[in-house]
Protein backbone atom coordinates (compact mmCIF):
# COMPACT_ATOMS: atom_id res chain seq x y z
CA UNK A 1 0.00 0.00 0.00
CA UNK A 2 1.36 3.46 -0.92
CA UNK A 3 2.74 5.39 2.02
CA UNK A 4 0.82 8.43 3.18
CA UNK A 5 2.41 11.51 1.65
CA UNK A 6 3.40 14.20 4.16
CA UNK A 7 2.56 17.26 2.07
CA UNK A 8 4.68 20.39 2.38
CA UNK A 9 3.54 23.71 3.81
CA UNK A 10 3.07 25.53 0.49
CA UNK A 11 1.20 22.57 -0.97
CA UNK A 12 -1.17 22.67 1.99
CA UNK A 13 -1.71 26.44 1.69
CA UNK A 14 -3.17 25.63 -1.74
CA UNK A 15 -4.85 22.26 -1.23
CA UNK A 16 -5.66 21.43 2.41
CA UNK A 17 -9.42 21.42 2.94
CA UNK A 18 -10.00 22.22 -0.74
CA UNK A 19 -10.83 19.03 -2.61
CA UNK A 20 -12.52 19.60 -5.99
CA UNK A 21 -16.22 20.27 -5.37
CA UNK A 22 -17.93 16.85 -5.41
CA UNK A 23 -21.03 18.17 -7.21
CA UNK A 24 -19.61 20.49 -9.85
CA UNK A 25 -15.91 19.68 -9.98
CA UNK A 26 -15.09 23.33 -9.27
CA UNK A 27 -11.34 23.57 -8.64
CA UNK A 28 -11.42 26.76 -6.55
CA UNK A 29 -13.37 26.48 -3.29
CA UNK A 30 -16.92 27.60 -4.20
CA UNK A 31 -18.68 30.30 -2.18
CA UNK A 32 -21.67 28.57 -0.58
CA UNK A 33 -23.52 31.79 0.19
CA UNK A 34 -26.52 30.02 1.71
CA UNK A 35 -27.84 30.47 5.23
CA UNK A 36 -29.31 26.97 5.41
CA UNK A 37 -29.10 23.49 3.89
CA UNK A 38 -32.07 21.22 3.15
CA UNK A 39 -32.40 17.97 5.06
CA UNK A 40 -32.79 14.66 3.24
CA UNK A 41 -35.74 13.77 5.46
CA UNK A 42 -36.85 14.13 9.07
CA UNK A 43 -34.50 11.37 10.28
CA UNK A 44 -31.59 13.17 8.66
CA UNK A 45 -32.60 16.40 10.39
CA UNK A 46 -32.89 14.69 13.77
CA UNK A 47 -29.50 12.97 13.37
CA UNK A 48 -27.83 16.26 12.44
CA UNK A 49 -29.34 18.22 15.31
CA UNK A 50 -28.30 15.52 17.78
CA UNK A 51 -24.71 15.61 16.40
CA UNK A 52 -25.15 11.95 15.50
CA UNK A 53 -23.82 12.62 12.05
CA UNK A 54 -21.78 15.38 10.49
CA UNK A 55 -23.31 17.75 8.02
CA UNK A 56 -24.55 21.23 7.35
CA UNK A 57 -27.66 22.70 8.96
CA UNK A 58 -27.28 26.44 9.22
CA UNK A 59 -24.29 28.66 8.39
CA UNK A 60 -24.09 30.07 11.91
CA UNK A 61 -22.79 26.64 12.95
CA UNK A 62 -21.01 25.40 9.83
CA UNK A 63 -20.75 26.10 6.11
CA UNK A 64 -18.87 24.28 3.31
CA UNK A 65 -16.80 27.34 2.28
CA UNK A 66 -15.98 28.16 5.88
CA UNK A 67 -15.09 24.49 6.48
CA UNK A 68 -12.45 24.68 3.74
CA UNK A 69 -10.87 27.64 5.51
CA UNK A 70 -11.07 25.82 8.85
CA UNK A 71 -9.44 22.62 7.61
CA UNK A 72 -6.73 24.58 5.80
CA UNK A 73 -5.83 26.49 8.96
CA UNK A 74 -5.89 23.31 11.08
CA UNK A 75 -3.53 21.67 8.61
CA UNK A 76 -1.13 24.63 8.45
CA UNK A 77 -0.93 24.95 12.24
CA UNK A 78 -0.57 21.20 12.77
CA UNK A 79 -3.80 21.12 14.76
CA UNK A 80 -6.58 18.56 14.90
CA UNK A 81 -9.22 20.99 13.66
CA UNK A 82 -10.42 24.57 13.67
CA UNK A 83 -13.47 26.76 14.14
CA UNK A 84 -13.71 29.98 12.13
CA UNK A 85 -15.15 33.07 13.75
CA UNK A 86 -16.44 36.51 12.77
CA UNK A 87 -13.21 38.20 13.90
CA UNK A 88 -10.10 37.69 15.97
CA UNK A 89 -11.93 39.17 18.96
CA UNK A 90 -14.71 36.62 18.46
CA UNK A 91 -12.11 33.84 18.37
CA UNK A 92 -10.81 34.99 21.75
CA UNK A 93 -14.28 35.28 23.27
CA UNK A 94 -15.44 31.87 22.03
CA UNK A 95 -12.22 30.06 23.00
CA UNK A 96 -12.19 31.58 26.48
CA UNK A 97 -15.89 31.04 27.19
CA UNK A 98 -15.60 27.40 26.11
CA UNK A 99 -13.14 26.94 28.97
CA UNK A 100 -14.15 29.48 31.60
CA UNK A 101 -17.16 31.25 33.06
CA UNK A 102 -18.20 33.43 35.98
CA UNK A 103 -15.97 32.85 39.01
CA UNK A 104 -13.13 31.49 36.88
CA UNK A 105 -9.73 33.03 36.27
CA UNK A 106 -7.25 33.63 33.43
CA UNK A 107 -3.54 34.40 33.57
CA UNK A 108 -2.57 36.57 30.60
CA UNK A 109 0.43 38.48 29.34
CA UNK A 110 0.06 42.21 30.04
CA UNK A 111 1.48 43.36 26.71
CA UNK A 112 -1.45 42.23 24.61
CA UNK A 113 -3.24 43.94 21.74
CA UNK A 114 -5.37 46.70 23.30
CA UNK A 115 -8.61 45.11 22.12
CA UNK A 116 -7.74 41.84 23.82
CA UNK A 117 -6.71 43.67 26.96
CA UNK A 118 -10.08 45.43 27.15
CA UNK A 119 -12.01 42.22 26.33
CA UNK A 120 -10.33 40.41 29.23
CA UNK A 121 -10.04 43.33 31.61
CA UNK A 122 -13.44 44.92 31.00
CA UNK A 123 -16.09 42.81 29.26
CA UNK A 124 -15.10 39.40 30.63
CA UNK A 125 -14.48 40.97 34.05
CA UNK A 126 -18.03 42.37 33.99
CA UNK A 127 -19.26 38.81 33.32
CA UNK A 128 -17.42 37.59 36.42
CA UNK A 129 -14.34 36.16 34.71
CA UNK A 130 -11.19 37.58 36.28
CA UNK A 131 -7.84 38.04 34.52
CA UNK A 132 -4.45 38.55 36.15
CA UNK A 133 -2.10 40.34 33.75
CA UNK A 134 1.60 39.60 34.20
CA UNK A 135 4.82 40.73 32.52
CA UNK A 136 5.04 38.98 29.12
CA UNK A 137 8.62 37.86 29.73
CA UNK A 138 8.32 36.77 33.38
CA UNK A 139 7.51 33.06 33.21
CA UNK A 140 7.63 32.78 37.00
CA UNK A 141 4.99 35.51 37.28
CA UNK A 142 2.65 33.41 35.10
CA UNK A 143 3.21 30.43 37.42
CA UNK A 144 2.73 32.52 40.57
CA UNK A 145 -0.58 33.98 39.34
CA UNK A 146 -2.25 30.57 38.84
CA UNK A 147 -4.91 29.69 41.40
CA UNK A 148 -7.44 26.87 41.78
CA UNK A 149 -9.98 28.73 39.61
CA UNK A 150 -7.55 29.35 36.73
CA UNK A 151 -8.64 27.81 33.40
CA UNK A 152 -6.01 28.92 30.90
CA UNK A 153 -2.79 30.80 30.24
CA UNK A 154 -2.94 33.34 27.43
CA UNK A 155 -0.23 35.06 25.43
CA UNK A 156 0.57 36.46 22.00
CA UNK A 157 3.54 34.88 20.21
CA UNK A 158 4.64 38.42 19.31
CA UNK A 159 3.09 41.08 21.54
CA UNK A 160 1.15 43.87 19.83
CA UNK A 161 2.64 46.41 19.74
CA UNK A 162 5.37 45.68 22.31
CA UNK A 163 7.09 43.14 20.06
CA UNK A 164 7.81 40.89 23.05
CA UNK A 165 8.38 37.30 21.90
CA UNK A 166 6.79 34.73 24.19
CA UNK A 167 8.86 31.84 25.51
CA UNK A 168 6.29 29.29 24.38
CA UNK A 169 8.03 26.16 25.65
CA UNK A 170 8.51 27.62 29.12
CA UNK A 171 4.90 28.83 29.27
CA UNK A 172 3.60 25.47 28.03
CA UNK A 173 5.60 23.74 30.73
CA UNK A 174 4.10 26.02 33.42
CA UNK A 175 0.61 25.53 31.99
CA UNK A 176 0.80 21.75 31.73
CA UNK A 177 2.38 21.36 35.17
CA UNK A 178 -0.77 23.05 36.50
CA UNK A 179 -3.26 21.13 34.36
CA UNK A 180 -3.93 24.17 32.16
CA UNK A 181 -4.00 24.69 28.41
CA UNK A 182 -1.72 27.30 26.84
CA UNK A 183 -3.67 29.57 24.48
CA UNK A 184 -1.55 31.52 21.98
CA UNK A 185 -2.58 34.34 19.67
CA UNK A 186 -0.28 33.79 16.68
CA UNK A 187 -1.65 36.57 14.48
CA UNK A 188 1.68 38.38 13.99
CA UNK A 189 3.53 35.19 13.05
CA UNK A 190 1.09 33.18 10.91
CA UNK A 191 1.80 29.44 10.73
CA UNK A 192 4.46 30.16 8.10
CA UNK A 193 6.75 31.82 10.66
CA UNK A 194 5.79 29.92 13.84
CA UNK A 195 3.51 27.00 14.67
CA UNK A 196 2.98 27.30 18.44
CA UNK A 197 1.58 23.76 18.70
CA UNK A 198 5.07 22.44 17.87
CA UNK A 199 6.27 24.19 21.05
CA UNK A 200 3.52 22.91 23.34
CA UNK A 201 0.64 25.32 22.79
CA UNK A 202 -2.78 23.68 23.06
CA UNK A 203 -4.98 26.28 21.38
CA UNK A 204 -3.91 28.78 18.71
CA UNK A 205 -5.93 31.84 17.72
CA UNK A 206 -5.67 34.21 14.81
CA UNK A 207 -7.11 37.41 13.65
CA UNK A 208 -7.29 36.09 10.07
CA UNK A 209 -7.98 39.68 9.04
CA UNK A 210 -4.23 40.29 9.07
CA UNK A 211 -1.50 38.38 7.20
CA UNK A 212 -3.66 35.30 6.57
CA UNK A 213 -6.13 37.24 4.45
CA UNK A 214 -3.26 39.55 3.66
CA UNK A 215 -5.03 42.13 1.54
CA UNK A 216 -7.02 44.13 4.07
CA UNK A 217 -10.39 43.07 2.67
CA UNK A 218 -12.06 40.79 5.19
CA UNK A 219 -12.52 40.56 8.95
CA UNK A 220 -12.27 37.03 10.32
CA UNK A 221 -10.82 34.85 13.05
CA UNK A 222 -10.01 31.22 13.72
CA UNK A 223 -9.39 28.90 16.68
CA UNK A 224 -7.18 25.84 16.18
CA UNK A 225 -6.69 23.10 18.75
CA UNK A 226 -3.79 20.66 18.99
CA UNK A 227 -6.02 17.84 20.25
CA UNK A 228 -3.33 16.80 22.73
CA UNK A 229 -4.64 18.34 25.98
CA UNK A 230 -6.21 15.85 28.38
CA UNK A 231 -9.35 17.68 29.55
CA UNK A 232 -10.28 14.83 31.88
CA UNK A 233 -6.92 14.30 33.61
CA UNK A 234 -6.60 18.05 34.23
CA UNK A 235 -9.46 17.97 36.74
CA UNK A 236 -10.21 21.63 36.00
CA UNK A 237 -12.76 21.03 33.23
CA UNK A 238 -15.69 18.95 34.50
CA UNK A 239 -17.89 20.27 31.69
CA UNK A 240 -16.16 17.95 29.22
CA UNK A 241 -17.15 14.84 31.17
CA UNK A 242 -20.60 15.89 32.39
CA UNK A 243 -23.81 15.11 30.45
CA UNK A 244 -24.86 17.88 28.05
CA UNK A 245 -28.58 18.50 28.50
CA UNK A 246 -29.10 20.19 25.11
CA UNK A 247 -27.64 17.16 23.30
CA UNK A 248 -29.53 14.25 24.90
CA UNK A 249 -27.06 13.78 27.74
CA UNK A 250 -24.02 13.03 25.58
CA UNK A 251 -20.61 13.78 27.09
CA UNK A 252 -18.08 15.77 25.07
CA UNK A 253 -15.06 13.71 26.07
CA UNK A 254 -16.66 10.24 26.00
CA UNK A 255 -18.33 10.79 22.66
CA UNK A 256 -15.79 12.90 20.81
CA UNK A 257 -12.47 12.03 22.44
CA UNK A 258 -9.74 14.36 21.21
CA UNK A 259 -12.37 16.30 19.24
CA UNK A 260 -14.21 17.29 22.44
CA UNK A 261 -13.02 20.89 22.79
CA UNK A 262 -13.69 21.99 19.22
CA UNK A 263 -16.98 20.11 19.04
CA UNK A 264 -18.17 21.78 22.24
CA UNK A 265 -16.94 25.16 21.01
CA UNK A 266 -18.84 24.88 17.73
CA UNK A 267 -21.95 23.15 19.05
CA UNK A 268 -22.41 25.36 22.10
CA UNK A 269 -20.41 28.61 22.01
CA UNK A 270 -20.63 29.33 18.28
CA UNK A 271 -24.25 28.13 18.20
CA UNK A 272 -25.22 30.37 21.13
CA UNK A 273 -23.08 33.46 20.57
CA UNK A 274 -23.47 33.50 16.79
CA UNK A 275 -20.12 35.10 15.95
CA UNK A 276 -19.65 33.05 12.78
CA UNK A 277 -17.48 33.82 9.74
CA UNK A 278 -19.37 34.66 6.56
CA UNK A 279 -18.78 32.25 3.64
CA UNK A 280 -17.71 35.14 1.43
CA UNK A 281 -15.06 36.23 3.93
CA UNK A 282 -13.93 32.60 4.26
CA UNK A 283 -13.40 32.59 0.49
CA UNK A 284 -11.43 35.85 0.61
CA UNK A 285 -9.27 34.54 3.46
CA UNK A 286 -8.62 31.31 1.52
CA UNK A 287 -7.39 33.35 -1.45
CA UNK A 288 -4.95 35.10 0.86
CA UNK A 289 -3.69 31.89 2.44
CA UNK A 290 -2.86 30.43 -0.98
CA UNK A 291 0.08 32.86 -1.23
CA UNK A 292 0.88 33.06 2.49
CA UNK A 293 4.41 31.65 2.22
CA UNK A 294 5.44 33.89 -0.68
CA UNK A 295 3.92 37.00 0.89
CA UNK A 296 5.43 36.37 4.31
CA UNK A 297 8.90 35.92 2.79
CA UNK A 298 8.50 39.33 1.15
CA UNK A 299 6.93 40.98 4.21
CA UNK A 300 9.82 39.72 6.34
CA UNK A 301 12.58 40.78 3.96
CA UNK A 302 11.09 44.26 3.54
CA UNK A 303 10.58 44.58 7.31
CA UNK A 304 14.16 43.57 8.09
CA UNK A 305 15.49 46.14 5.61
CA UNK A 306 13.21 48.94 6.80
CA UNK A 307 14.02 48.25 10.45
CA UNK A 308 17.76 48.26 9.76
CA UNK A 309 17.43 51.54 7.86
CA UNK A 310 15.44 53.17 10.67
CA UNK A 311 17.84 51.87 13.33
CA UNK A 312 20.69 53.58 11.52
CA UNK A 313 18.91 56.92 11.15
CA UNK A 314 19.79 59.85 13.43
CA UNK A 315 16.17 61.11 13.51
CA UNK A 316 14.98 57.85 15.11
CA UNK A 317 15.53 57.34 18.84
CA UNK A 318 14.84 53.60 19.00
CA UNK A 319 13.54 50.61 16.99
CA UNK A 320 11.91 47.66 18.76
CA UNK A 321 12.00 44.62 16.47
CA UNK A 322 12.99 41.15 17.63
CA UNK A 323 14.88 40.60 14.38
CA UNK A 324 17.42 43.32 15.31
CA UNK A 325 20.52 41.98 17.12
CA UNK A 326 20.15 44.42 20.04
CA UNK A 327 16.55 43.38 20.79
CA UNK A 328 16.05 41.71 24.18
CA UNK A 329 13.89 39.20 22.29
CA UNK A 330 16.45 38.42 19.58
CA UNK A 331 17.37 35.05 21.08
CA UNK A 332 13.74 33.96 21.56
CA UNK A 333 12.96 35.10 18.02
CA UNK A 334 15.84 32.97 16.74
CA UNK A 335 14.34 29.96 18.47
CA UNK A 336 10.64 30.44 17.71
CA UNK A 337 10.71 32.61 14.56
CA UNK A 338 13.82 31.57 12.64
CA UNK A 339 12.44 32.79 9.29
CA UNK A 340 11.82 36.25 10.73
CA UNK A 341 9.98 37.94 13.59
CA UNK A 342 7.11 39.06 11.39
CA UNK A 343 6.72 42.38 9.63
CA UNK A 344 5.24 44.56 12.39
CA UNK A 345 7.46 46.57 14.69
CA UNK A 346 7.62 49.89 16.50
CA UNK A 347 10.00 52.79 16.63
CA UNK A 348 10.27 56.15 18.38
CA UNK A 349 11.00 59.53 16.84
CA UNK A 350 13.27 62.08 18.39
CA UNK A 351 10.88 64.85 19.33
CA UNK A 352 8.40 62.54 21.02
CA UNK A 353 4.62 62.68 20.66
CA UNK A 354 4.49 65.81 18.47
CA UNK A 355 7.12 64.55 16.04
CA UNK A 356 5.26 61.23 15.82
CA UNK A 357 2.05 62.94 14.82
CA UNK A 358 3.76 65.16 12.24
CA UNK A 359 5.54 62.15 10.79
CA UNK A 360 2.26 60.31 10.25
CA UNK A 361 0.55 63.34 8.75
CA UNK A 362 3.32 63.71 6.14
CA UNK A 363 3.34 60.16 4.81
CA UNK A 364 2.36 59.84 1.16
CA UNK A 365 2.49 56.08 0.46
CA UNK A 366 2.21 54.50 3.89
CA UNK A 367 -1.41 54.38 5.10
CA UNK A 368 -2.47 55.63 8.53
CA UNK A 369 -5.08 53.18 9.79
CA UNK A 370 -5.90 50.70 12.54
CA UNK A 371 -4.83 47.41 11.01
CA UNK A 372 -1.76 45.34 10.36
CA UNK A 373 -0.90 42.60 7.89
CA UNK A 374 -2.16 44.29 4.73
CA UNK A 375 -0.19 43.89 1.49
CA UNK A 376 0.23 47.68 1.77
CA UNK A 377 2.48 49.31 4.36
CA UNK A 378 0.48 50.62 7.32
CA UNK A 379 1.28 52.91 10.21
CA UNK A 380 -0.39 53.92 13.47
CA UNK A 381 0.36 55.89 16.61
CA UNK A 382 -0.98 53.60 19.40
CA UNK A 383 -1.09 56.29 22.11
CA UNK A 384 -3.72 58.22 20.18
CA UNK A 385 -5.65 55.26 18.68
CA UNK A 386 -5.64 51.54 19.61
CA UNK A 387 -4.38 52.13 23.15
CA UNK A 388 -6.04 55.44 23.95
CA UNK A 389 -8.56 53.79 26.29
CA UNK A 390 -5.80 52.42 28.51
CA UNK A 391 -4.37 54.34 31.45
CA UNK A 392 -0.74 55.55 31.36
CA UNK A 393 0.11 52.82 33.88
CA UNK A 394 -1.51 50.14 31.74
CA UNK A 395 0.31 51.50 28.66
CA UNK A 396 3.69 51.38 30.37
CA UNK A 397 2.95 47.84 31.62
CA UNK A 398 2.18 46.94 28.01
CA UNK A 399 5.37 48.62 26.83
CA UNK A 400 3.69 51.42 24.87
CA UNK A 401 5.17 54.93 25.11
CA UNK A 402 3.71 58.20 23.76
CA UNK A 403 6.35 58.48 21.01
CA UNK A 404 5.79 54.93 19.73
CA UNK A 405 4.90 54.51 16.05
CA UNK A 406 3.87 51.06 14.81
CA UNK A 407 4.72 50.03 11.29
CA UNK A 408 3.29 47.04 9.39
CA UNK A 409 5.65 46.65 6.46
CA UNK A 410 3.95 45.76 3.18
CA UNK A 411 4.93 44.40 -0.19
CA UNK A 412 5.66 47.63 -2.07
CA UNK A 413 9.11 48.23 -3.57
CA UNK A 414 11.48 48.56 -0.63
CA UNK A 415 12.96 51.77 -2.10
CA UNK A 416 9.51 53.38 -2.19
CA UNK A 417 8.72 52.51 1.43
CA UNK A 418 12.04 53.94 2.58
CA UNK A 419 11.61 57.06 0.38
CA UNK A 420 8.26 57.78 2.03
CA UNK A 421 9.53 57.23 5.57
CA UNK A 422 12.56 59.41 4.82
CA UNK A 423 10.61 62.40 3.53
CA UNK A 424 8.11 62.19 6.42
CA UNK A 425 10.95 61.94 8.95
CA UNK A 426 12.46 65.07 7.43
CA UNK A 427 9.17 66.93 7.84
CA UNK A 428 8.74 65.67 11.41
CA UNK A 429 12.28 66.59 12.41
CA UNK A 430 11.92 70.08 10.96
CA UNK A 431 8.87 70.64 13.17
CA UNK A 432 10.54 69.19 16.23
CA UNK A 433 13.71 71.18 15.56
CA UNK A 434 11.80 74.41 14.98
Amino acid sequence: MAKDRQWGFKTRTLHAGGLPDPTTGARAVPIYQSTSFVFEDTNDAADLFALQKYGTIYSRISNPTTAAFEERMASLEGGIGAVATASGQAAEFLAVTTLAGAGDHIVAAAGLYGGTHTLFGTTLARLGLETTFVDNSDVDAFAAAINDRTKLIYTEIIGNPSGAVADLQALAEVAHRNGLPLVVDATFATPYLCRPIEFGADIVLHSATKFLGGHGTSIGGVIIEAGMFDWTASGRFPRFTEPVATYNGLQWHDNFGEYAFLTALRSEQLRDVGACLSPFNAFMLLQGIETLAQRMDNHVSNAKAVAAWLAGDQRVSWVAFADLPDSPYHELAGKYLPKGAGAVFTFGLKGGRKAGQTFIENLQLVSHLANIGDARTLVIHPASTTHQQLTDEQMEQGGVGPDMVRLSVGLEDLEDIIWDLDQALTAATAVAGG
Binding site: T11, P22, D47, P243, E258
Partner: protein, 167 residues
Amino acid sequence: MSTTGEVAAPSGWVPPGALERKHILDNTRSIAIVGASSNPARASNFVLTYLRSSVCDFDLYPVNPRETEIMGVKVYPSLADLPVVPDLVSVFRRGEDTPDIAREAIAAGAKTLWLQLGIANDETAAIATAAGLNVVMNRCVKIEHARFAGGLHLAGFDTGVIHSRRR
Protein backbone atom coordinates in the same frame (compact mmCIF):
# COMPACT_ATOMS: atom_id res chain seq x y z
CA MET B 1 -4.81 11.95 24.97
CA SER B 2 -2.31 10.34 22.67
CA THR B 3 -4.44 8.94 19.90
CA THR B 4 -2.11 9.94 17.12
CA GLY B 5 1.22 8.47 18.25
CA GLU B 6 1.95 6.33 15.22
CA VAL B 7 4.72 4.16 16.66
CA ALA B 8 5.13 0.41 16.55
CA ALA B 9 3.97 -1.39 19.69
CA PRO B 10 6.10 -4.12 21.39
CA SER B 11 3.88 -6.70 19.67
CA GLY B 12 5.22 -5.58 16.31
CA TRP B 13 1.87 -4.03 15.46
CA VAL B 14 2.22 -0.87 13.38
CA PRO B 15 -0.72 1.55 13.47
CA PRO B 16 -2.28 1.69 10.01
CA GLY B 17 -1.85 5.08 8.31
CA ALA B 18 -4.68 7.13 6.89
CA LEU B 19 -4.64 5.47 3.45
CA GLU B 20 -4.67 2.03 5.04
CA ARG B 21 -7.60 2.96 7.30
CA LYS B 22 -9.47 4.25 4.26
CA HIS B 23 -8.72 1.00 2.43
CA ILE B 24 -10.07 -1.01 5.38
CA LEU B 25 -13.32 0.98 5.53
CA ASP B 26 -13.75 0.94 1.73
CA ASN B 27 -13.63 -2.86 1.90
CA THR B 28 -15.97 -3.19 4.86
CA ARG B 29 -19.63 -4.02 4.39
CA SER B 30 -20.61 -5.66 7.70
CA ILE B 31 -19.64 -4.36 11.13
CA ALA B 32 -20.07 -6.17 14.43
CA ILE B 33 -20.17 -3.77 17.39
CA VAL B 34 -19.03 -5.55 20.56
CA GLY B 35 -20.23 -3.74 23.66
CA ALA B 36 -23.07 -1.91 21.90
CA SER B 37 -25.37 -0.16 24.35
CA SER B 38 -28.96 1.09 24.31
CA ASN B 39 -27.95 3.95 26.64
CA PRO B 40 -27.84 7.14 24.52
CA ALA B 41 -25.13 8.62 26.76
CA ARG B 42 -22.67 5.82 25.86
CA ALA B 43 -20.14 6.29 23.06
CA SER B 44 -21.08 2.91 21.53
CA ASN B 45 -24.68 4.07 21.17
CA PHE B 46 -23.58 7.37 19.69
CA VAL B 47 -21.32 5.68 17.15
CA LEU B 48 -24.14 3.30 16.21
CA THR B 49 -26.42 6.27 15.47
CA TYR B 50 -23.81 7.50 12.99
CA LEU B 51 -23.18 4.12 11.37
CA ARG B 52 -26.91 3.63 10.73
CA SER B 53 -27.42 7.20 9.41
CA SER B 54 -27.81 8.03 5.73
CA VAL B 55 -24.12 8.91 5.25
CA CYS B 56 -23.15 5.27 5.84
CA ASP B 57 -24.01 2.03 4.05
CA PHE B 58 -23.07 -0.76 6.46
CA ASP B 59 -24.80 -3.90 7.69
CA LEU B 60 -24.71 -3.60 11.47
CA TYR B 61 -24.57 -6.39 14.04
CA PRO B 62 -24.53 -5.10 17.62
CA VAL B 63 -23.18 -7.68 20.09
CA ASN B 64 -24.15 -7.60 23.76
CA PRO B 65 -25.55 -10.50 25.83
CA ARG B 66 -27.62 -8.06 27.93
CA GLU B 67 -29.40 -6.35 25.01
CA THR B 68 -31.89 -7.62 22.42
CA GLU B 69 -32.56 -4.62 20.21
CA ILE B 70 -30.98 -1.15 19.91
CA MET B 71 -32.71 1.53 17.81
CA GLY B 72 -34.54 -1.20 15.93
CA VAL B 73 -31.37 -3.15 15.17
CA LYS B 74 -31.28 -6.78 16.38
CA VAL B 75 -28.55 -7.46 18.97
CA TYR B 76 -26.61 -10.75 19.14
CA PRO B 77 -25.31 -12.30 22.38
CA SER B 78 -21.85 -13.07 20.99
CA LEU B 79 -19.74 -12.93 17.82
CA ALA B 80 -20.28 -16.69 17.46
CA ASP B 81 -24.04 -16.07 17.12
CA LEU B 82 -23.81 -13.71 14.12
CA PRO B 83 -25.68 -14.85 10.99
CA VAL B 84 -22.86 -13.55 8.76
CA VAL B 85 -19.08 -13.34 8.74
CA PRO B 86 -18.38 -9.76 9.87
CA ASP B 87 -15.84 -7.81 7.85
CA LEU B 88 -14.94 -5.63 10.82
CA VAL B 89 -15.32 -6.08 14.57
CA SER B 90 -15.53 -2.76 16.41
CA VAL B 91 -14.88 -3.08 20.15
CA PHE B 92 -16.22 -0.93 23.00
CA ARG B 93 -14.81 -2.90 25.94
CA ARG B 94 -12.01 -2.42 28.45
CA GLY B 95 -8.52 -3.16 27.14
CA GLU B 96 -8.04 -6.21 29.39
CA ASP B 97 -11.17 -7.84 27.92
CA THR B 98 -9.98 -7.50 24.34
CA PRO B 99 -7.60 -10.50 23.93
CA ASP B 100 -10.60 -12.84 24.24
CA ILE B 101 -12.56 -10.70 21.81
CA ALA B 102 -9.63 -10.96 19.36
CA ARG B 103 -9.84 -14.77 19.55
CA GLU B 104 -13.61 -14.63 18.99
CA ALA B 105 -13.19 -12.26 16.05
CA ILE B 106 -10.66 -14.65 14.48
CA ALA B 107 -13.06 -17.57 15.01
CA ALA B 108 -15.87 -15.54 13.43
CA GLY B 109 -13.73 -14.95 10.33
CA ALA B 110 -13.41 -11.15 10.65
CA LYS B 111 -10.90 -9.32 8.45
CA THR B 112 -10.38 -6.36 10.79
CA LEU B 113 -10.28 -5.92 14.56
CA TRP B 114 -10.91 -2.31 15.53
CA LEU B 115 -10.53 -1.12 19.14
CA GLN B 116 -12.28 2.20 19.71
CA LEU B 117 -10.95 5.48 21.16
CA GLY B 118 -9.09 5.02 24.43
CA ILE B 119 -8.79 1.22 23.99
CA ALA B 120 -5.52 -0.53 23.18
CA ASN B 121 -3.85 -3.78 24.22
CA ASP B 122 -0.53 -5.19 23.00
CA GLU B 123 -1.56 -8.82 23.54
CA THR B 124 -4.75 -8.24 21.56
CA ALA B 125 -2.78 -6.69 18.71
CA ALA B 126 -0.33 -9.60 18.70
CA ILE B 127 -3.10 -12.22 18.63
CA ALA B 128 -5.07 -10.60 15.82
CA THR B 129 -2.01 -9.64 13.76
CA ALA B 130 -0.66 -13.20 13.95
CA ALA B 131 -3.98 -14.46 12.55
CA GLY B 132 -3.70 -12.06 9.60
CA LEU B 133 -6.30 -9.53 10.69
CA ASN B 134 -5.96 -5.79 10.15
CA VAL B 135 -5.70 -4.22 13.59
CA VAL B 136 -6.72 -0.65 14.40
CA MET B 137 -6.52 0.54 18.00
CA ASN B 138 -7.44 3.71 19.88
CA ARG B 139 -9.39 5.16 16.96
CA CYS B 140 -13.07 5.77 16.35
CA VAL B 141 -14.66 4.03 13.37
CA LYS B 142 -17.13 6.93 13.12
CA ILE B 143 -14.41 9.58 13.06
CA GLU B 144 -12.35 7.62 10.52
CA HIS B 145 -15.36 7.08 8.27
CA ALA B 146 -16.20 10.78 8.54
CA ARG B 147 -12.58 11.66 7.75
CA PHE B 148 -12.89 10.09 4.30
CA ALA B 149 -16.62 10.65 3.68
CA GLY B 150 -16.41 14.42 4.17
CA GLY B 151 -18.22 14.78 7.49
CA LEU B 152 -15.08 15.54 9.44
CA HIS B 153 -14.16 18.18 6.87
CA LEU B 154 -17.54 19.88 7.23
CA ALA B 155 -16.99 20.04 10.99
CA GLY B 156 -13.71 21.94 10.51
CA PHE B 157 -11.36 19.05 11.32
CA ASP B 158 -8.15 18.23 9.51
CA THR B 159 -8.74 15.12 7.43
CA GLY B 160 -5.26 15.05 5.93
CA VAL B 161 -6.96 14.29 2.62
CA ILE B 162 -5.45 16.10 -0.39
CA HIS B 163 -6.49 15.05 -3.89
CA SER B 164 -6.92 16.74 -7.27
CA ARG B 165 -9.64 14.46 -8.61
CA ARG B 166 -13.38 14.78 -8.22
CA ARG B 167 -14.80 12.08 -5.97
